[in-house]
Symmetry: C2
Subunit: 237 residues, 2 copies
DNA sequence: CGAAATCTTGACCGATCTCAACTTACGTGG
DNA sequence: CCACGTAAGTTGAGATCGGTCAAGATTTCG
């Protein structure tokens, strides 16, 4: 799967600006005082991965939190019978590795750089020290976890109860929401990945989107862009 | 849905023994010193619900953690299109309400007493005070959340990639695991609920179990008991 | 610019849902 | 503690959603 061996730059104090930019992006840290932030940044080291490289795989021991400072990371799982499902895509400022920080210390998922990517890492031990020292960070992480748990359970319920068509419609709806009045969205991933994310196949995605277009609910534009013409229509499919 | 109005016993210091038994059952608290435990119990109050009663519903404001001291609670969600999915069943010592404690403060799920049930409650404010005071509790909760998130994401992946048959087999496998050598399990819920939990219908559950029995993988006994005859056979269905 | 990956469309098939009728189990109240 | 009524479970027949395989068109990236 992974394409080329590429040299990691394991720099410890190489580019402090990058670390700062990165760490301060992260919601769980951005409420801290400047000096606390500095303290955290010192505990951080950065690593680069190139497109296609695996950052960790299921079964790997885990002892660090990874924060994306640039690039994108695909998080996916393999089911018991070996099929792949895309769990989420991490953009700069988002983090992963958190699950293993408080549990077994073993990853259950795979993380793969979708393009050349730089991450900041904090080890479990260091992070837990910060948590004990600044309990508000723990509250932030709890809040972040709740959010993610909520999302995950909602997703589970959708898989359990909704048709593929509805799942696609709900996905599109979530893409537009936030974008005020803008009824044009850019799919954040390939249709292949979208299929994996939504628990279906690329063929079905193609067909359903074509169907939605026929019915006049959406219009597909070049470059993964989609114009939503009738959101309500979509949602009561 | 709910059957009979029944009086809640909102006792504040009524039955301290019950509270203690209940609170000390909970993994997130059971590492505490006796005096800290007392402190928490004082912040607790207990409420009784009778069979079928709704404890909270989606949209309700939430400001408490509920710990089951006796009875059972069904947690379920309604999808966007109104279909119900069983998320989990809480037994004594387990808790719910945690999601809303660190987020919006609005429940996204429904909680219903499956039988006469008694819960201990702690308000958000009180809990957060304990968290700031005893950061190890936060670590415990983080650990619990990680666990649940892991479970939820695994579940999502199964829905996304496995057939109903495999999902049932995996469910049975998880029921036996832990039970050393004992190849007989008792389904923890009705087949109707199991269907809802696994994202299928009671009819399909019936048929698949019958099929597994035909093939000699399991044997269905009275009272929701199932004997697993060939676990490996089941799992490579 | 060209190879490789993604995407599209068609034909076909199978897993699972729906609806319906019937049987069984269980909680409630007398 | 038993009987009754309601809820749960079973089984069949039919319909359908969505997956698979295959071939071809299009895009992407080195």
């Amino acid at each position: 799967m992974q394409k080329s061996r590429c040299h990691h730059s394991k720099s410890h104090a190489k580019d402090v600006k990058t670390h700062k930019a990165c760490v301060s992006l992260v919601p769980i840290f951005n409420h801290l005082e400047a000096d606390q932030m500095d303290e955290i940044m010192k505990a951080t080291r950065s690593i680069s991965y190139c497109r296609g490289e695996i950052i960790y795989r299921a079964g790997d021991k885990s002892d660090s939190l990874y924060i994306v400072s640039s690039g994108r990371i695909r998080i996916y799982r393999l089911s018991e019978s070996g099929k792949e499902q895309l769990v989420r895509i991490l953009n700069p400022g988002e983090f992963t590795g958190e699950l293993a920080l408080f549990r077994e210390g073993i990853h259950e998922a795979y993380a793969e750089a979708m393009m050349d990517t730089n991450v900041c890492m904090i080890t479990r031990t260091e992070l837990q020290e910060f948590l004990m020292k600044y309990p508000t960070i723990a509250l932030k992480i709890l809040s972040e976890f709740s959010e993610r748990l909520e999302t995950s359970e909602k997703q589970t319920t959708r898989f359990a109860t909704e048709t593929v068509e509805t799942r696609i419609a709900l996905f599109l709806a979530e893409c537009v929401e936030g974008e005020n009045q803008v009824m044009e969205i850019k799919l954040p991933m390939s249709k292949k990945d979208l299929a994996s994310y939504l628990g279906t196949t690329p063929e079905t995605i193609s067909r359903k989107l074509a169907e939605m277009e026929d019915k006049g609910y959406i219009r597909q534009l070049p470059q993964r862009k989609i114009e939503i013409l009738d959101l309500d229509g979509l949602l009561l499919l």
